[in-house]
């Protein structure tokens, strides 16, 4: 048993108040019920970088929500779920997931193809220390929506690799939901952050991570993402729609060593095969 979190509620609240006063974000905070998570230097920098002069003013939880556990069950694989409401499905162009206090804050940038009806995106991320996690969506009509959540966790980037031996590098598994509207995609990859130590040798482990993902059907890209060291070991992506997903589905993965992996799912729903249709890894380099 390991303790994994302590309450830092007081400094957190103080920081939020400061952010509120200094950045004039008070109105945003109260309007969304979501602005309690403190700002940070990293976020202020990234906001200037990606969203200069943008109003990240928001609609409400029905448009987009971000689910993150306040106390993570695993700092190295903290589950995040982004959900899009009826008004948002089909009208999202891009989503960035930012973890303010991670060494590489931009965890993933998802580009949604025009017309793709993405209702939910789930992923698992490393959390290095207590932080705000943000999702910023750009709509097809050029508006920006942001949701954030505070996560109590530490050590996710330096956590030692798991001792899991099953599966092979680049293997991709598909697990559709019984109604065919969601797909859990599991990618066997160490996704080494560059901040881990090999417990046997004591030597640092070089960064080796999934850098790009493409989710397509019959050659048509539905969703792709640029990703980095903030994804968990064995990255997981769960995509849901408000309609049955198309079939067949292909997932193409490129990693930081420029290895390419491909997994394909033919269309059999869960219940036919025991849980998943596995797909082989493609060639490398």
């Amino acid at each position: 048993m390991h303790a994994q979190s302590m309450s830092h509620a007081v400094p957190q609240a103080r920081a939020a108040v400061l952010a509120c006063l200094l950045l004039g974000l008070c109105g945003v905070a109260s309007a969304t019920g979501d602005g309690q998570t403190p700002s940070s230097g990293a976020w202020e920098y990234l906001q200037r970088e990606f969203y200069p002069d943008r109003n990240l003013g928001l609609l409400d939880e029905h448009f987009m929500s971000l689910e993150a556990p306040a106390n993570t069950p695993d700092p190295a694989a903290t589950p995040l779920t982004l959900r899009f409401g009826d008004a948002a499905v089909g009208h999202i162009r891009q989503i960035r997931v930012i973890i303010d206090n991670n060494p590489s804050p931009v965890a993933a940038t998802f580009d949604v193809a025009s017309g793709a009806r993405v209702a939910e995106i789930g992923l698992r991320v490393r959390i290095d220390r207590f932080t705000s996690v943000r999702a910023i969506a750009e709509t097809t009509d050029g508006r920006f929506e942001m949701r954030s959540a505070w996560v109590n966790a530490s050590g996710g980037c330096s956590a030692p690799p798991s001792t899991l031996t099953a599966g092979s590098l680049g293997e991709i598994r598909f697990r559709p939901s019984p109604d065919g509207r969601s797909m859990l995609i599991s990618i066997r990859h160490p996704n080494n952050s560059g901040f881990q130590i090999d417990p046997r040798s004591g030597e640092p482990i070089a960064a080796h991570y999934v850098s790009h993902l493409r989710f397509s059907s019959d050659g048509r890209t539905l969703l792709q993402a640029d990703t980095g060291i903030s994804l968990s070991e064995n990255p997981s992506l769960r995509i849901a729609s408000d309609q049955p997903l198309p079939a067949p589905i292909a997932v193409d993965v490129i990693d930081s060593a420029d290895a390419h992996f491909t997994g394909r799912w033919g269309g059999a729903l869960a219940g036919n095969a025991a849980g998943s249709a596995a797909a082989g890894a493609g060639g490398t380099r």
């Binding site: 302590m6 069950p73 589950p79 789930g122 099953a166 939901s177 859990l184 064995n234």
Partner: protein, 322 residues
């Protein structure tokens, strides 16, 4: 003596000097500080020469979190074996003081049942006794992985300033089994495959039929899965076949019927595995799994909230690739 004003002093008033000297004497003896600092350190004698201190069922971040594991010792005619040392050097010293109230025999072995903080951080209290530290063959590596974490998360549970050297690993490791002779009594140690952790070790005192299970058995407190839930179930099958008089769990009350005492833990682990398998078969997310898996078990266990989500996450990450 202004600071005395903050304490009710009525009963002390007649003996101010005597008390001061007593306090100074206590402060000069580290061993005595521990006893003074833990006046409630209770011991039970389970059988002649077999003593256990029952830990409290508290969360790992609660006050008193260093005293949550069951720890104890066994006395032979030649020497003493300690089994787990508690979650702080302070608790380790309280255990050492309790031993010294009962015997002057040397402490020849300090056995750690696994790597977790609540069982090993008291090791440093025993270093001056020059025992052999004993653990599972994988304990050395497990401690190497944990030292930084312990130093960051539990610095106040070590002597100040905290140092990695206080987190003591084994001198003698156990691959499969090992017999230790204490004089007139023989301990049988057994190393187990991946279960609660990757370094679980049990200790059987053959004379009294007392099995120390370490955290392979949690009673009342929700089991924490840090190794493999399915591996743990296999180990429970083997434990259930052992004929012992009593079992000392890692957490919770002493069990007189081991096989019966294993049942709740077996039921929870089974529900955990079946639930996660079902979620994965339906393409469920980790969050859905945390919310739904084994939910019916919740009323049966203490400290559910702090541990169950971690268990589900751990099993989910493993089963995703089975």
């Amino acid at each position: 003596m202004q600071h005395r004003a903050i304490r009710p002093a009525a009963r002390c008033a007649p003996f101010p000097h005597a008390l001061s000297w007593a306090l100074i004497a206590l402060l000069l003896q580290p061993g005595a500080i521990a006893t003074a600092g833990a006046p409630d350190f209770q011991l039970q004698q389970l059988a002649p020469g077999v003593f256990v201190h029952i830990g409290q069922q508290l969360a790992l971040d609660a006050p008193g979190h260093d005293d949550i594991a069951n720890i104890g010792f066994i006395v032979g005619t030649r020497c003493v074996a300690v089994i787990d040392t508690g979650g702080s050097v302070r608790i380790g010293r309280a255990l050492l003081a309790a031993i010294r109230q009962r015997t002057r025999l040397p402490i020849c072995y300090v056995i750690n049942t696994h790597v977790h903080v609540d069982h090993v951080l008291g090791n440093a209290a025993f270093a001056p006794e020059r025992p052999k530290f004993v653990g599972h063959a994988a304990l050395t590596a497990a401690l190497a992985r944990s030292r930084d974490f312990f130093l960051q998360q539990y610095p106040e549970d070590l002597d100040q300033p905290p140092s990695a050297a206080q987190i003591i690993g084994p001198d003698i490791t156990v691959d499969q089994t090992l017999e230790l002779e204490l004089g007139g009594r023989r301990l049988s140690l057994r190393a187990w495959p991946l279960a609660h952790t990757d370094c679980d070790l049990t200790v059987l005192d053959n004379g009294s039929g007392t099995l120390w299970t370490g955290d392979l058995l949690f009673r009342d407190r929700l089991p924490a899965v840090d190794g493999s839930a399915s591996g743990w179930l296999r180990v429970l099958d083997e434990l259930a076949r052992l004929r012992v008089t009593r079992a000392v769990p890692g957490h919770g009350p002493i069990a007189s019927d081991l096989s019966m005492a294993l049942q709740p833990e077996r039921r929870y682990l089974r529900a955990l595995i079946d639930g996660v398998r079902d979620q994965l078969a339906r393409g469920g997310s980790m969050q859905q799994a945390i919310a739904q898996v084994a939910a019916a078990e919740q009323p049966q266990w203490l400290l559910w909230d702090s541990t169950h989500a971690r268990n589900v996450a751990h099993v989910y990450e493993q089963m995703e690739w089975q």
